[in-house]
């Protein structure tokens, strides 16, 4: 068995905080405009796709936790080395770090794009990316407990955005959802597959697991978090389908933000401008967790200090945001990343669980045989 990660209680977190970790890591930039991507495939049954994707996250998480329980207190990086050996294991670890980097980068770039498209078209990408990176570096240097704190506050402070969905419901027509299941099952599944980019984030569990104090209580908060995420996505999707008409939803790039665009209060003419700015708080946990996950992998590969790592990582992300400028490039990255993420997040953990289980049985037999001999 692999050497478990040794941690002092001071570095650990309570299991219930995983609710905020998982939920905070899931909701990010995807929710701003996932509707039309799902709608392209599943049409007005898109909400079923969202539901299916939500169920899939539960199944995958179930497998993840099973795998992690086999190893007691270890993370994905340790498990990979244990199962596949030093070379392949380290290669997979490096790949996973790269995955975290691309995820981090795509969240960052997408958010900057939203700010530029909605509010400040003339602000330089470098400026927004540098500002955001500095905040992230600041949170990261505080350690895991600070990052978890960020995700906690990110969720609590943005709770008020959710009831805003009631405003567009004024123009909703429930008939838009009918007839249910008109589209064939394949296109609905395809829609669920397109949910990947939006719904991922819960794979952070693979890395954060050793840091949980009471590991036997992990299940409940994690599944609750997934449930909450599915519920939010489902409500946003339902409201969007009923609020927009077919053609309009397909043409709206950030449907959630446009949903907010006619809400106005006597003291605030355009609500979505506030929402766009406020979104920074929502994506912060996303960014912090991917950065942290990459860091956990990097220290196993090379001997590197946290500060050096975070500056290097940020530097590459910064260069990346400057190089990738146009909407087409960003869309390509989102699509490609979504496809890769599907295998990394939804397929791989199930495979890994099967392999880990096999290996466990195999070694258990071997030990037994040895004892008998």
């Amino acid at each position: 068995m692999a050497k478990p990660i040794q941690l002092s209680p001071k570095e650990m977190i309570n299991a219930y905080l995983l609710f905020f970790v998982v939920h905070g890591a899931q909701i990010g930039v995807g929710i701003q405009g996932f509707q039309r991507i799902i709608y392209q495939d599943a049409r007005h049954d898109a909400w079923i796709s969202v539901l299916l994707a939500g169920i899939a996250t539960h199944i995958v998480t179930f497998c993840m936790i099973k795998t992690l329980e086999i190893y007691g207190s270890n993370d994905l990086y340790g498990i990979q080395i244990n199962i596949f050996g030093k070379w392949i294991g380290n290669f997979l670890n490096a790949m996973y770090i790269l995955y975290c980097f691309v995820a981090f980068f795509s969240v960052l770039r997408n958010y900057i794009e939203v700010i530029q498209a909605w509010i400040f078209p003339s602000i330089g990408t470098w400026f927004l990316s540098a500002t955001l990176l500095i905040i992230i570096i600041y949170a990261f240097t505080g350690g895991l407990r600070v990052i978890v704190g960020v995700s906690f506050f990110s969720i609590i402070l943005s709770l008020w955005i959710f009831p805003m969905l009631a405003f567009p419901m004024k123009y909703s027509t429930a008939a838009s959802l009918l007839p249910i299941l008109e589209n064939d099952f394949r296109s609905i599944l395809k829609g669920a597959h397109s949910m990947t980019f939006t719904i991922i984030g819960f794979e952070i569990l693979n890395i954060i697991y050793p840091f949980v104090k009471d590991k036997k209580n992990v299940r409940k908060p994690v599944h609750l978090a997934l449930l909450a995420t599915t519920f939010i996505y489902l409500s946003v999707m339902m409201v969007s389908i009923t609020y927009y008409s077919e053609g309009k939803l397909l043409k709206t790039i950030w449907a959630t933000l446009t949903l907010f665009s006619f809400i106005s209060f006597p003291f605030m003419e355009r609500f979505e401008f506030v929402a766009v700015c406020f979104w920074m708080l929502i994506i912060l946990p996303n960014l912090c967790f991917y950065l942290w996950a990459a860091y956990r992998g990097a220290i196993r590969l090379v001997n590197i200090s946290g500060t050096t790592f975070v500056w290097l990582f940020s530097f590459f992300a910064f260069i990346g945001t400057i190089l990738i400028q146009t909407r087409t490039q960003i869309n390509t990255i989102n699509t490609v990343f979504g496809q890769v993420a599907f295998y990394v997040v939804f397929v791989y953990p199930i495979l890994l669980w099967l392999i880990a289980q096999l290996k466990k049985n195999f070694t258990a037999k071997k030990v037994k045989n040895n004892e008998q001999a």
Binding site: Y138, Y171, K248, T258, S264
Partner: protein, 374 residues
């Protein structure tokens, strides 16, 4: 401690850098409150913009500018060349279309306004009888800011439910919907006033017909649920048994206040298609001329029947008119799409079917009460 100070200096510098974003100070911008589109004499689009220039010392100044260019943004640049202040569109409240533009195609105008993040989805849209420019350029005696005036005029009538609501969101929704066509109010200049004169019916992005303002009540009642709205109708002599009348008369005028209305559409025959349209109206009768004894339950029931008959006739007429011009502003197609599985409906296909559609209108009219004096 030193390390912390270093960090805070870096952070602070960003705070100051933030000020480098482009600023829009109220004194230095011209707020476009209304834009009217016409087809230009030489170029594609003639834009008339009502621009309010806020001046802290003097009274605010309202400019009405007409420019011609191939795009609406190009028009904005042209207008910028004529003004001392930068033009912003964030406060735009109304978009008007000249009749020629509306009859051509609105697609471009809907899209360009949806694309622009600084244009709110809640702005009103309307068609102008004739051209938009003369309506806006006319020097009204009592109207200071024509942009603000038209906005208030439309807003007030929509809120009171006298006129159908046509915000950018609703227009775009209907335009991009398979089974529904869009409708807009029509405005025109009436001497020194601006008046809402009717409803424009569209087929796709083209205006195909109009209905008089009086009919907007029927359009509204079939389009969606109705909360408050005053309406007046004329009952024919044969609609109402003369025994209820206290004085014989040829025509009876009734004004009522629809407290609440509810409509239900049901698709009864897919092939034709045939719809049942059930409308329930609860109302308060405000005026009847000549008098009817409203204390007598029988005559109230008789009046209800007569109004039902009258409304059924009028609503059928309005729907028949819309069928003639193939403009489904009521959303029957939407109902068809959501009821029939695998209908593969397209807008063109629906327009074909809409012509031959049959509608059975049933109105259930209930008089809740009249005033405080019988």
């Amino acid at each position: 401690m030193n390390k912390l100070r270093g960090k805070s200096i870096v952070l602070l510098s960003f705070v100051f850098l933030y000020g480098c974003a482009q600023t829009n100070i109220l004194d230095k911008v011209g707020l476009t409150t209304l834009v009217g589109y016409d087809i230009g004499a030489e170029e594609k689009i003639a834009t008339t913009a009502v621009i309010r220039e806020v001046n802290p010392e003097f009274q605010s100044n309202v400019e009405v500018l007409t420019t011609e260019n191939d795009t609406s943004k190009g028009n904005r640049m042209d207008a910028n060349r004529k003004l001392s202040k930068k033009i912003m569109v964030g406060q735009m409240r109304v978009i008007l279309f000249g009749e020629d533009v509306a009859k051509d195609n609105l697609r471009y105008y809907i899209d360009t306004n949806l694309e622009n993040a600084s244009v709110s989805n809640g702005i009103y849209m309307a068609v102008v009888e004739g051209k938009a420019a003369p309506l806006l350029k006319y020097e009204y005696q009592n109207i200071e800011d024509i942009g603000q005036h038209i906005f208030r005029l439309i807003e007030q009538n929509v809120k009171q439910e006298y006129m159908i609501s046509a915000t950018l969101h609703q227009i775009a929704h209907d335009y991009y919907s398979i089974g529904k066509d869009l409708a807009m109010p029509i405005i025109k200049r009436d001497d020194e006033l601006v008046e809402l004169s009717g409803v424009a019916l569209f087929k796709g992005g083209k205006m195909v017909s109009t209905l008089p303002a009086k009919d907007s009540f029927y359009v509204k009642i079939v389009r969606d649920t109705f909360k408050v709205g005053l309406y007046e109708t004329v009952l024919e002599k044969e609609d109402i048994p003369s025994k209820f009348l206290q004085k014989p008369a040829n025509k009876i005028t009734v004004a009522f206040d629809a407290i609440h209305s509810n409509r239900e559409m049901e698709l009864v025959d897919i092939a034709t298609p045939e719809f049942d349209l059930n409308i329930k109206i609860k109302s308060r009768v405000l005026e009847v001329f000549p008098d009817i004894n409203q204390g007598d339950p029988k005559s109230v029931a008789g009046l209800e029947k007569a109004i039902e008959k009258n409304l059924t006739k009028e609503i059928s007429r309005v729907i028949a008119h819309s069928q003639e011009v193939e403009s489904d502003i009521f959303g029957f197609g939407e109902k068809y799409r959501s009821t029939v599985r695998h209908s593969k409906l397209t807008k063109d296909k629906w327009h074909e079917m809409y012509k031959n559609m049959k509608v059975n209108v049933n109105v259930d009219f209930v008089i809740l009460r009249d005033g405080v004096f019988e």
